[in-house]
Symmetry: C2
Subunit: 187 residues, 2 copies
């Protein structure tokens, strides 16, 4: 276009080197972010033996890093603490007060036996971990159970089919007004 400009005499290698450097910077800058996303939300190739009966739900990798939705307590005989955490999709829906939860929502309920604090008579703290319970929203795949797939795990392994048959009936009977989810976002 302007053949007299001095840039015309530069080597094309200079442009390639600049591009290569820029791409290297992009990669180095973004890799930690991508790794975080992948480990927090990404689908993992998991052994099907680790998937729940009926629903095929697995424990999502990285769920311990997810944001807390609310703690809770179950009285005796269970005598447990619970803490429900959710992936980004879940948290965004909670914060927007959006129902039904969108596909891709995952909720995980951690649970522990309650234990007397050794330092404070008035305090109770987590003892041994007991179950991990997972709800996954996929309105097509789980159309017959309100769009939710369920998984209940002990020691990382799913409990039996009979126990998984009880999930939907209880959520359907008691939490239908809130898209079958009991837990509310703690203020």
């Amino acid at each position: 276009m302007t053949p007299a400009e001095p840039e015309k005499n530069k080597s094309p290698y200079a442009t390639m080197i600049v591009l290569a450097v820029v791409l290297l910077v992009v990669l180095l800058t973004c890799v930690p972010y991508l790794v975080t996303i992948a480990s927090a939300e990404g689908p993992a190739a998991r052994d099907t033996a680790d998937a729940s009966p009926i629903f095929g739900v697995t424990i999502p990798p990285g769920y311990k890093q997810w944001e807390l939705i609310a703690p809770a307590e179950e009285a005796a005989p269970l005598d447990e603490f619970r803490a429900v955490v959710g992936n980004r999709t879940a948290i965004d829906a909670y914060q927007a007060g959006k129902l039904p939860f969108p596909d891709g929502t995952i909720l995980v309920k951690r649970a522990w036996k309650r234990k007397q604090s050794p330092e404070f008579a008035s305090a109770t703290i987590p003892g041994a971990a007991t179950t991990v319970q997972v709800m996954v929203k996929d309105s097509k795949k789980y159309a017959s159970t309100g769009g939710w797939g369920f998984g209940r795990f002990i020691g990382g392994k799913p409990v039996d089919e009979a126990q998984h048959r009880t999930c939907w009936g209880c959520h359907e009977a008691r939490a239908s007004s809130r898209d079958y989810v009991f837990t509310r976002l703690a203020p």
Copy 2:
């Protein structure tokens, strides 16, 4: 170097456009990551009226996104749920079983009144939020209190100096074997 190559005849504007596009991609890709880091860990310019007396500790921005360390319960008359979360430095130290906690560790204890679940007779859930309590490790700044600065907040505002005078004595008396931190990592 190779004056006969056709690239020599390209406009310099083409190179500039490619660079501009690449830079745009870099920015769009990395901004969410940088925002996450900044909101999760970064120091914030905060009103000093929001800083605790004695220690000058503030509520860290983004703490609700931090990883759960453990839930707990306080019996009546407090009758509260607690959930302690920590920044990345705190979680890494907990997972490594590393004591004392390194400088930069921040622990935040959220608290709520306990409330009967409307759906389950056996379940107790969070009611109104009560206090937010913060511990910040800075071994130089807080050398006279075990390296810890303390903040106790109600409705986002620090409580009075008299209450803040009680923090260190209790942590020193009861948790000296664990760098003055009561909360253990939930299994």
